[in-house]
Amino acid sequence: MPPTTTLEPVEVPEIGVVDGALIALGERVIAVTGEDDLDTLLRALPASPDGGSDDPVTAAAAVTATEFAAGDTVVIDGWVLAVSEARAAAVLALLCRDGAC
């Protein structure tokens, strides 16, 4: 029995090709948290560790361990996620709205 979501990769503006499952996750994050303002989310995300990556998930991965240790987490359909990685998925979903992907 494979995992439930089966989505095609999508081209996200300014990011590149992303697994469609990540976009679906981002929509769930937005639905649960109500955080749907792209600029606010981008400001809340950590800076890219190398200063050059535009991928919010990659940038968030650098701080997830610290956030988990601090209890800075959010629960999405039972999944306990670091707050930045959840926001990063939400950013991808927002970038894909309005037919952008």
Binding site: M1, T4, A61, F68, W79
Partner: protein, 531 residues
């Protein structure tokens, strides 16, 4: 010698140095330990060699509190315990591990807690108990087991979560294993089909004799220097409450503690997870088999497996209760689990991939959690009578929102620790797990579980039991907080001792039978030395 009590004339008096009531794990271990002690032992068993409907019915009673249920169905008080030779070991699942040091310590915020002995006191008895329960030895360090076997090393050990070892010994039926030794002994008499109906006393301070009855009406008595109740965590309390010669509240019940603090182990379908560890490195959660090489059980094959547990330091520092997590492992993404709605394993897998820590294993989490003592969770007597004319048991198992809160907090903490270590992500779904019938197919085991995050119910998620009945005659230094002293003697009675899980001072979260056997060995030593 084996005696069918139904063949004895009414009025028969048995005489022994030590009378042990009950032939389960505790009673049989006691009798075995006393075989060469020079003491005459009379071991009393309600049933015979096999299960019997009329005898089993003596265990029926009222469950008026929280339901006693597995995670799938409610179970009667006459089904969770077995009343024939070997007792409940006749359906024992065989999971062995010792209690933890923190279990013996007083814990802030609980009504009563701790034991008047410490963990180190039981270490030599766990070592001796290993042979009785048919495990290799008292070694429970996962690193040692990785050296002894092909088990991989622990995938997780932190200040909060430690990897623990279970030695699994099913089937180990004490009646089948040790009955022949007892029957052959000249110092032991086994009376089957005899039921204790009263511990007779003139003053409540000393047992003069035990009144026994058979279901066909034969009345017997046993006179002994010492009496030991070893009838299980519910029945021990019931028999004390039913013995009212000197006090209508029962014997040993001056401080109204008999039957209180009934604890179970909470069992929860907790959730799922994705870990960045290859299934091959996770196979210790499935376990391996080892063969006992020495002693009377040489050649017996038993299991060894990993699980996770909250560390003692975490339990102390957060004033919480213990928790064990069993992991069922499949490969991700070949084996996943069904999910009704919401963020699923594929989405989280994509997140982990993108973050540079791809998931390799999918896991299902089954949790056993500790219940703190609660004086309102208790065994009392019902008005209804059984086939012997005795009042049936009434069990009022109680737990509350604080217990659920601790479970949820601990699950969240474990999920955060798994994230903090970079191991993966957990989905905590109490109330949101459905179990399918295809679970018997090992290779597709995880598909037997369906995640239903829309059904998560933090206020009322299902809580099953571990079928462990604990603390109803708890061990305490202060008679106001328990029933037996550090030697397992009933505080107020000079010749009555109790064996079994009813004497646990704090429930802990470890499966109890191994510790029941260790305590019985310790009690045998005490009786041998003190009588």
């Amino acid at each position: 010698m084996l005696i069918d009590a139904r063949t004895l004339p009414t009025g028969t008096v048995g005489r022994a140095d030590i009378c042990v009531i009950g032939s389960g794990a505790a009673g049989i271990t006691l009798a075995m330990e006393l075989l060469d002690s020079g003491r005459r032992v009379l071991l009393v068993e309600s049933g015979g060699q096999q299960i019997d409907a009329a005898t089993t019915d003596l265990y029926a009673g009222e469950s008026v509190g929280r339901p006693i249920r597995s995670l799938t169905q409610e179970i009667g008080l006459d089904a969770i315990r077995l009343r024939f030779f070997g007792g409940t070991t006749n359906h024992w699942a065989g999971a062995c591990r010792p209690l933890q040091p923190v279990d013996f310590e007083p814990r802030a915020g609980f009504a009563v807690s701790g034991w008047p002995i410490d963990h180190a006191e039981l270490l030599p008895y766990w070592a001796r108990a290993a042979d009785y329960v048919r495990i290799t030895d008292a070694e429970f360090d996962p690193l040692v087991w990785s050296q002894r076997t092909d088990l991989p090393p622990p995938v997780l050990d932190t200040a909060m979560i430690e990897t623990i070892i279970f030695q699994n010994t099913a089937p180990t039926r004490f009646g089948e294993l040790y009955g022949a030794d007892l029957v052959a002994s000249e110092s032991v008499e086994v009376w089957q089909w005899a039921n204790l109906v009263n511990l007779a006393t003139d003053d409540g301070r000393h047992i003069t004799h035990a009144d026994l009855r058979t279901l066909d009406g034969t009345a017997l008595r046993v006179e002994a220097d010492a009496f030991v109740l070893a009838c299980g965590g519910i029945e021990n309390a019931r028999l004390l409450l039913a013995s009212t010669d000197a006090d209508p509240a029962g014997i040993g019940n001056e401080t109204d503690q008999v039957g209180r603090h009934f604890c179970e182990h909470f069992q929860i379908y907790a959730g799922f997870g994705l870990l960045g560890v290859a299934p091959e490195e996770m196979r210790a959660f499935d376990g391996t088999q080892v063969t006992i090489t020495e002693g009377r059980h040489a050649g017996f094959v038993h299991g060894v497996k990993h699980a996770w547990s909250l560390t003692d330091d975490h339990v102390r520092s957060t004033a919480t209760t213990g928790m064990e997590v069993q992991l069922v492992v499949g490969a991700h993404p070949e084996i996943g689990w069904k999910q009704s709605t919401g963020a699923d394993a594929a989405q989280i897998g994509a997140l982990l991939d993108r973050g540079g820590h791809p998931a390799e294993s999918a896991i299902y989490l089954q949790v056993l959690a500790e219940q703190p003592c609660n004086p309102d969770s208790r065994v009392t007597l019902a008005d209804a009578r059984d086939g012997l004319g005795m009042r049936r048991v009434r069990l009022d198992w109680q737990y509350g929102p604080d217990d659920r809160r601790r479970i949820l907090d601990n699950l969240r903490a474990i999920a955060e620790e798994v994230g903090a270590t970079g191991l993966g992500r957990l989905q905590i779904t109490p109330g949101g797990v459905a179990v399918g019938l295809e679970g018997a197919i090992r290779g597709e085991f995880l598909t037997a579980y369906e995640s239903r995050p829309d059904e998560i119910d933090e206020a009322d998620f299902p809580i099953g039991v571990g079928f462990h009945h604990l603390c109803t005659t708890r061990m305490s230094a202060d008679p106001a907080e328990g029933v037996v002293d550090a030697d397992c003697r009933v505080h107020a009675v000079d010749n009555l001792w109790i064996a079994g899980s009813s004497v646990f001072g704090t429930a802990g979260v470890a499966t109890p039978t191994y510790s029941i056997v260790a305590l019985a060995i310790r009690l045998a030593d005490h009786l041998r030395d003190s009588l």
